[in-house]
């Protein structure tokens, strides 16, 4: 670890990639970040597998299917510090609006009933490929499944919040939290 750059991994579970977009929204500070860290498994570099143990894992999105749970546990195993980023990771976010609606009803609405599909699925096919991950009964936010070390709220979290949090962790300095950066929308 000595003289080595900290290694970051990121994942988008049941999220919309908005949090990742916000991370890119740090503009030219991304050059500073590249100086400070290396990226491992992440949609940013399209690395599909962990190649080594990481220092910081950034999780966007909660868990809506078995694959999300698997991925989240992988991240916990492979990252020293795990951060829940955004409303979906922290409390389920918009996907969790389906909590409380039976799963059958959600699927029928999506594939049979909603205006964009009604009449276009005469054989009433529902996704049934073995390869597809199993949908969960509801959305589980990340700290229901694994231990999470830090939480950065927002929808998406402000770029400044993400950048300052990463720099604070990497340099071991206390984080500034000006009023404008903590927002839930």
């Amino acid at each position: 670890m000595e003289n080595q750059k900290p290694i970051i991994a990121t994942a988008s579970l049941a999220g919309c990639f908005g949090c990742h977009m916000s991370l890119l929204d740090i503009d030219d500070r991304i050059l500073n970040l590249i100086e400070l860290v290396e990226f491992d498994k992440s949609p940013i570099n399209d690395l599909k597998k962990f190649t080594r143990h990481c220092d910081i894992g950034i999780i966007e999105g909660g868990c809506c299917n078995s694959e999300n749970i698997h991925m989240l546990k992988e991240f916990r195993k492979n990252c020293r510090i795990l951060i829940s980023v955004g409303e979906c990771a922290i409390m389920g976010g918009l996907p969790a609006l389906r909590n409380g609606i039976p799963i059958r009803e959600c699927i029928e609405e999506a594939y049979w009933q909603s205006p964009s599909v009604k009449g276009h699925n005469p054989e009433m096919i529902l996704p049934n490929d073995q390869e597809l991950p199993m949908l969960l009964d509801r959305i589980y936010h990340c700290h229901e499944i694994v231990k999470i070390d830090y939480f950065l709220p927002g929808c998406p979290p402000r770029a400044d919040l993400l950048y300052d949090a990463l720099v604070s962790i990497i340099t071991g300095t206390e984080m500034k939290l000006p009023y404008e950066v903590i927002k839930f929308d």
Partner: protein
């Protein structure tokens, strides 16, 4: 003991103040530029003491500032670290008790519950989310009542009445099932003006005036740049 109206001396956070006996601690503090966070309280309406956000200590004992009148010799503390954490925990409890999906809420940016969470720097609730199953009632011609977001503060019941003093809103059911509904008959005659007043008096997004949502862009809403309570603190002399 002091009688109502006589002038008493009390101390708030170590500073001495003169105040009229019988005035609520919250009002005395506010008029002197000391912000005590409140949620169920509405200035000028009889206090309810429902939310406990305004908890302070008087001579070491916890009291609600919105319902406790000042008296001679009171030693009032409004902002100890214990009180700060207690208030934050109440906000966190409210967030898990209902379904508060801020990114999808019409009141986001103008919501007092959210503004308190911002002020207290709530990053996540320390309590488990309950995701209760609640309904949305859109039968009223002017207002949508969203039970997912109602914090039962009774502000609407207490502040919005018709010309005969009848309330458009009322409590229903008991215990943890209690809810605040719109009177179906009286509600039919709600004017645009009253509907707007109801939406404004509701601290959260439980009462939304139809065809009003998302009018103000992000960045221009009430609490986007200014913390709740900043107006009280800026009056400090």
């Amino acid at each position: 003991m002091s009688t109502n109206g006589s002038v008493i001396r009390c101390s708030i956070d170590g500073k001495e103040y003169l105040a009229k006996a019988g005035k609520y601690i919250n009002d005395v503090a506010r008029e002197n530029g000391v912000y005590i966070p409140t949620l169920c309280n509405v200035i000028g309406i009889h206090p309810q003491g429902a939310c406990r956000i305004c908890t302070i200590t008087v001579n070491g004992r916890m009291m609600t500032a919105c319902t406790t009148p000042v008296a001679e010799g009171m030693d009032i503390k409004t902002n100890t670290s214990e009180l700060q954490d207690l208030r934050k925990s109440i906000v966190e409890l409210m967030y898990v008790e209902g379904n508060h999906f801020c990114p999808a809420c019409e009141k986001s940016g103008n919501c007092e519950l959210q503004a308190l969470a911002y002020r207290f720097q709530m990053m996540v609730s320390r309590f488990p989310y309950t995701f209760p199953k609640r309904k949305i009632d859109a039968r009223n011609p002017k207002l949508v009542k969203n039970y997912n977001r109602c914090i039962l503060c009774k502000r609407c019941i207490r502040a919005i009445k018709d010309e005969q003093g009848r309330s458009y809103f009322a409590f229903r059911k008991r215990g943890h099932k209690v809810e605040v509904g719109i009177d179906v008959d009286l509600g039919k005659f709600i004017s645009d003006e009253v509907a707007q007043k109801a939406m404004d008096i509701c601290p959260v997004g439980a009462l939304i005036k139809k065809e009003q949502a998302f009018r103000i862009p992000i960045g221009k809403r009430k609490y986007d740049k200014t913390p709740i309570g900043a107006d009280v603190e800026s009056h400090h002399v």
